[in-house]
Amino acid sequence: MIVAKRKPIEEIKKMLKGYKKVLNVGCGTCVAVCLAGGEKEVEVLNAQLDMARRLEEDPIEMGAFTCERQCDREYLGTLDEKVKQYEAILSMACGAGVQFIAERYPDKPVFPAVDTTFIGVNQGVGWYEERCRSCSSCVLGLTGGICPVTMCAKGLFNGPCGGTNKGMCEVSKDQPCAWHMIYERLKQQGRLDCIKELQPMTEWQNQVPRTVIQPGYRKPEKETEQQKA
């Protein structure tokens, strides 16, 4: 899932300075699961903002709405009527959700309430760890299911570097060396040949905004034209 961290209240307050009526939109998918921007977090943030602005004698009216997925047009549509009643929108979704809202309501200022942090896993309640950089060129089949792009601080494709430190990465005693783990796992599986050959320079696919159209589908032309208009 996509993991996010809520921004500090001071930063959010600064963005909302001057606005009196703002709709806070939560997202019910990834950011709700990672406890950053779901229905509950919308309520908490609104209460904080309400209190802070009252203390400053500059009250703000915060609306609340959490849709299933801000990155999905079908769910976003449920916001159309509500948005009209507000000067600005605060989105607690990931960066994709924020942008999709901004695109749908181009006349409304839209502000992010979270910092989108990574694609990761749930290690325990409230504890998440990064696992994927969505590089578009997955090599996990060669590296024992451990991503060198994400888990190696230098993103080496032919590691390990000379900085391994008792199995840990040179950048932190708490971060295991990805290539040490890759070596151990492949050794255990009898697959060290996977990393004996030189892995050539990566043809990076993530240098421009990417689009995926699955086989058998196509971009509906009419809708695209309507969007442009």
Binding site: A153, K154, G155, T164, E170, E197, L198, Q199, P200
Partner: protein, 314 residues
């Protein structure tokens, strides 16, 4: 030594190694400023005492004068530089243009490194580039030199005929993989390797035995890394705080045992003993002396280690 084919570069270091001489290379860290005199002053200590001088590239992720620029000063002073290039600060495009520019200026050796993570430096949140890694950089230089092409396939009008170097650390885990990694660097195109500073001689002997068993010393010149310890404090720091460094307790105790004010002499003695052993060790083609901020001691160490005079080449 097996047949190594035609010379690959115009490097003096390559000529020395091909002629079967025991190579002796040095190192110079460029200044933290635009100070040409600082480079020339350090170079003067090395001139005539080493075959080639590694010029570090923003080592420990701290900004210094560009490696290629300091290399040019060395050429002007009559020394042969070894241009260190790390993958941290440049993407593949900048690397290719720097390689071409360096070669055009007369630089004939390049040492391909990943580079320390930006976190170690004084601007720790700089974005590390790592577009390619050291293994791929070795391969890139080889491709440009031997295929006379850019990676795109476009012809180069004059290829950079570099003598290609790599680093090898026998002392970082997983130990048993380190010799395989050296083999991989040779496969990628390394002509010579310089090892991490050696203090644990037992582990190095074991590493060299494996390398020789695999015949790696016949495909690539292996230079053993030596850094003389200046003090007990330096030894303790390296043991504790430098990742991938293996300083046995016995080495620290030896320096400590030398007594007050005598640790640096003991450090030099240890380095000289190491060099003498490397001269005899199967598969070791030379020594890379990294006298960190101690360049002025190089003439004495070289003299006492019996590596002077350096061979003259016709």
């Amino acid at each position: 030594m097996a047949e190594r084919g035609e010379p690959k570069s115009g490097s003096r270091l390559e000529k020395i190694l091909r002629a079967g001489h025991f190579a002796f290379t040095g190192e110079l860290g460029p200044p933290r400023g635009a100070n040409a005199e600082a480079v020339k002053k350090k170079a003067a200590h090395l001139k005539g005492n080493v075959d080639s001088v590694n010029i570090t590239d923003n080592q420990t992720a701290v900004v210094r004068m560009a490696s290629w620029a300091a290399c040019i000063f060395l050429l002007q002073e009559g020394l042969e530089p070894n241009f260190q290039m790390v993958c941290r600060d440049r993407n593949r495009l900048a690397m290719q243009s720097d390689i071409l520019g360096a070669y055009a200026h007369g630089i004939r050796n390049i040492l391909c490194l990943s580079g320390d993570h930006p976190k170690f430096g004084d601007q720790p949140n700089a974005k590390g580039v790592f577009d390619i890694d050291s293994m791929q950089l070795i391969n890139l230089v080889k491709f440009m030199r031997d295929e006379k092409k850019f990676p795109s396939g476009t012809e180069l009008d004059e290829p950079p005929r570099m003598f290609i170097g790599a680093a090898s650390n026998p002392f970082a885990e997983p130990y048993e993989w380190r010799v395989q990694r050296l083999a991989k660097k040779i496969q990628a195109g390394a002509d010579f390797v310089q090892t991490q500073c050696i203090y644990n001689m037992d582990r190095f002997r074991e590493f060299m035995k494996k390398a020789v068993d695999m015949g790696l010393h016949e495909k690539c010149y292996i230079l053993a890394g030596v850094t003389p310890m200046k003090s007990v404090g330096m030894a303790q720091y390296m043991a504790k705080s430098v990742p991938g460094m293996d300083v046995p307790e016995s080495v620290i105790n030896r320096l400590r045992g030398a007594g007050k004010g005598k640790a640096s002499e003991e450090g030099i003695k240890f380095a000289i003993e190491q060099i003498q052993e490397f001269k005899e060790m199967e598969g070791v083609a030379g020594v890379h002396l990294m006298a960190i901020e101690w360049e002025h001691m190089v003439p004495e160490i070289a003299e006492r280690a019996g590596v002077l005079p350096r061979p003259e080449l016709s």
